[in-house]
Subunit: 109 residues, 2 copies
DNA sequence: TATTCATATGAAAAGTATTTCATAGGTATT
DNA sequence: AATACCTATGAAATACTTTTCATATGAATA
């Protein structure tokens, strides 16, 4: 394995990026960027069924994109901003540098 | 849509991160980090069927992770290092900060 | 221009991830 | 301790991605 993967490995990348390749999880990340929320908060804000939110959060937590803490019967989720915000900004920059036409979103045309 | 997504959008993230959530595409990225290569080079280096490589490269190109130029009947692919190298390094850092046990690769335990 | 080499592409099959739905496990409240 | 509320979880169904395989396109060469 070469440079980029010395310290990490393919599975790590896979489990991490899978989350970011999913629109619902990105919506959750966006919501948590604004303010930490409980599962039911997210359910209400995003108008998405509770178990979808829970399943998604479980995967996000697995690679530490979010963390949670108990608060009574609720569970408050918050974004691990340190990595994720700069990372998404990088992609924003990246795609701004290239084509962003409606059809393809980054075709390079 | 909120902060992170002002300049980008869910589709952009999706198409971009989908690539990085795929082991073969990560292998291709790793190979191209070392040196630019033609499709048949990659086919040989990675011991992977040609059409798999081509399909993968097409998706990587779609969001400008790689670019290509013609050279006779070959097509030389190279990595758009500016974004991708720092980005992968960020994930390496991120997962180093957390658990990295064999079973879960980032469970937070 | 026929042939060969390199790459791309379409579509069905195979593989993988998410969604759905029913239900279970905690915690607070009565 | 019964009930209500909040969240998690398992498994089947659905949706999505990648792989496979056959073939097409395009460039070089004999």
């Amino acid at each position: 394995m070469n440079k980029v993967s010395k310290t990490s490995n393919f599975s790590t990348y896979h489990i991490f990026f899978r989350n970011l390749a999913n629109p619902l999880k990105i919506r959750i990340i966006s919501a948590l960027e604004e303010k930490e929320s409980s599962v039911s908060d997210l359910t209400y804000q995003l108008k998405v069924e509770q178990s979808k939110i829970s399943h998604a959060l479980a995967l996000l937590k697995k690679c530490n994109i979010v963390k949670s803490e108990k608060k009574g019967k609720e569970r408050i989720y918050s974004l691990n901003k340190k990595t994720i915000i700069p990372l998404l900004k990088m992609i924003d920059e990246h795609s701004k540098s290239f084509c962003n036409c409606k059809e393809c979103r980054g075709c390079g045309k």
